[in-house]
Symmetry: C2
Subunit: 389 residues, 2 copies
């Protein structure tokens, strides 16, 4: 058969995502689980309905989807509320990086893997991918609960630490990390955050008065698109995940917010399902055929889950117990950063089967979290409503 | 430099498109010209601000953009009105294919090119790309004028004929086209059109009553996205351009049309500029450095322009003179079908410089049409308003 059209792939993914999403909503599960499973089912490893060979083409659509998702979540998050949870978010972020990395190193060394392999696997299980949790929070209308704020704040901290860890690990693996380079990276990241969070809101107010110049039609949505693409790209350029930039863009965007929130909805409906379906399509269920790999994947996944839950729970000390558990579970999904670390490792000589283990861990934590997180988030929302009354 | 992020490319394209678009609107030119020029300027051949090497990744975003554009135009076109211009549309489509092909063959043979090369170049100058004209019609609020209807109808006819011609030409070039295959193609295309146009509207009414099942939230926008992706993909599968399917999707979509029209706007604002900026980025102004190639490109482009204008003018006999001229000019822009023909030819041994000539013809007709078409369309709209009053 000749190369299948990308549009056909997109149609198959979208249709399957919507059908599975509706089915899961009918059994009171978050639609996102259905969308992920839809991807697994139509993907190359099960039904093979996608054209194949077009992976990076599909990924750009997925990337647009997750950026729109994080912008929307940022838009619905109040910067002041986020500042108020600064301390627990910082702690959750720190512990959520330290615990998985330490436990991962312990496991790999005990199992007899060499240092470089151990470093890459451990670094890959560190970074939370907030996309899945953000989607469950949105599906259940719980973006403005305490747990949500802590998770979103911690995800920013977490991502920054994971990227720095990646720099250190790559340097150790190839043996050429200079202290200067590391310091430059840290300064860059802190400058970026400082500029965006403290100067961003003012700059947007300025920009919005510029677009009000007579004769040129003002469009808050246009400003939003430019800001989101711009900060997402800037974020990638300095070495952070693009979704962090997109989230920050939403967070600082205050110019005719309600209008933009309405306008972003159809874009969200169109693009976001692709992210989840395409992520799902990357899971190869047959990797679990080899018992040794299955066992290792299970152990790594277990460590990845337990240490994040513990980190989230311990880091949010002082909050209600239910909230702490929600934070812990909300930090569990891993995603693109883990995959980036693993594929970088692959290029530097990481064992191909260990790469498979990381991919499996990523997809399992992503697919398994929403069914557990759903009820916790629902309870958290009820708690918040009770407190506010 | 390492591989630049796709998001940065998208940001650069979007920002440049918006800046140039505003500038062109300020001097009362269609924004689309600015967007095309923005692409030329930031593209690899002038400033080189794009990462490069990611061409098919950018193209999928461009493709989503042009599909949303044609769906929107289809949505704003009335099927009944289109049926009313059936005869001129058919004639314009037929002449708009026959004249450029005949003239192209004549020129190439006179210049001494061999048969296969002549066939490919002549086939490549046949197909109108209605995207640019559709955009000018929308920018100037003239989708519901007679000229617009004739052009849109003729574009469907034109695309069908061009695809059939492509099948014949490829067959002649490699010498293995069976009559059976050609008949199968023609039957497929006619069946597709028949099914979509005569059964489509009923099927959508059915579908919209299904999505009204209690418990499942109805979303006309979702139905629209599925229909658009589905028909665009189906259209590609049977060998037509995807934009024909997207246009048909909009044309037959009647279910809560106003709501969908409002919801599609932000998606349009976000994705459509990419199509024009990315198309512009493909023009290499340096191809005109070689005088021989420049001369040939100029001759082929002149033939491409003159024959389409003549075909449009002659085919719309019986309509007002201004309308006929608008139709002719509206048919001038060439696009993806021409590029497809040329790249197929390249694979079958077409001369690389002739490929460059086709690309130049495509981009020049695309960039040069809007400034001429703009005033004609504006006059056409005034004519329509006068008639209706």
């Amino acid at each position: 058969m000749e190369q299948q059209s990308v549009l056909l792939d997109l149609f198959v993914l979208f249709a399957a995502a919507k059908i599975f999403g509706e089915l899961f909503q009918a059994i009171r599960q978050p639609a996102v689980v259905g969308e992920l499973l839809a991807g697994v089912v139509v993907g190359p490893h099960v039904l093979g309905l996608l054209g194949g060979g077009e992976q990076d083409v599909l990924e750009v659509v997925a990337e647009l989807g997750v950026i729109i998702l994080l912008f929307t979540v940022g838009l619905e998050t109040s910067l002041d509320d986020l500042r108020r949870v600064g301390r627990p978010a910082l702690l959750v972020g720190l512990l959520g990086v330290a615990l998985p990395f330490a436990a991962g190193m312990g496991l790999m060394i005990v199992l007899g893997y060499e240092r470089a392999d151990s470093l890459f696997v451990s670094a890959a299980i560190v970074a939370t991918s907030v996309g899945v949790t953000a989607r469950v929070l949105r599906d259940l209308g719980a973006v403005n609960t305490t747990a949500a704020r802590v998770v979103l704040g911690a995800a920013v901290v977490d991502d920054i630490l994971a990227i720095m860890l990646l720099a250190v690990v790559s340097g150790l693996a190839v043996g050429d990390l200079s202290t200067v380079e590391l310091v430059v990276l840290i300064v860059e990241v802190l400058l970026f955050l400082g500029i965006v969070l403290f100067l961003g809101p003012k700059a947007i107010r300025r920009l919005s008065s510029i677009v009000r110049v007579p004769g040129i039609p003002e469009s808050p949505f246009l400003v939003a698109v430019l800001l989101t693409l711009g900060l997402a790209a800037a974020s990638e350029v300095i070495g952070l995940a693009a979704i962090i930039g997109a989230f920050l863009a939403g967070l600082i965007f205050e110019f005719r917010k309600e209008e933009v929130a309405t306008q972003i909805e159809p874009v969200y409906e169109f693009l976001v399902p692709f992210f989840f379906a395409i992520t799902g399509s990357q899971l190869d269920p047959t990797v679990f055929g080899d018992v040794g790999i299955l066992g290792l994947a299970a152990m790594v996944t277990a460590i990845a889950v337990v240490t994040k839950v513990l980190g989230g729970y311990a880091g949010s000390v002082g909050l209600e117990r239910g909230t702490r558990l929600t934070v812990g579970v909300g930090m569990v999904p891993r995603g693109e950063v883990g995959l980036i670390v693993a594929s970088l490792g692959l290029g530097l000589g990481l064992d191909a089967e260990l790469f498979g283990v990381v991919v499996a861990m990523t997809v399992v934590t992503t697919i398994a979290t929403p069914p557990v997180l759903g009820p916790l988030v629902a309870a958290e929302r009820r708690r918040t409503e009770r407190t506010e009354r």
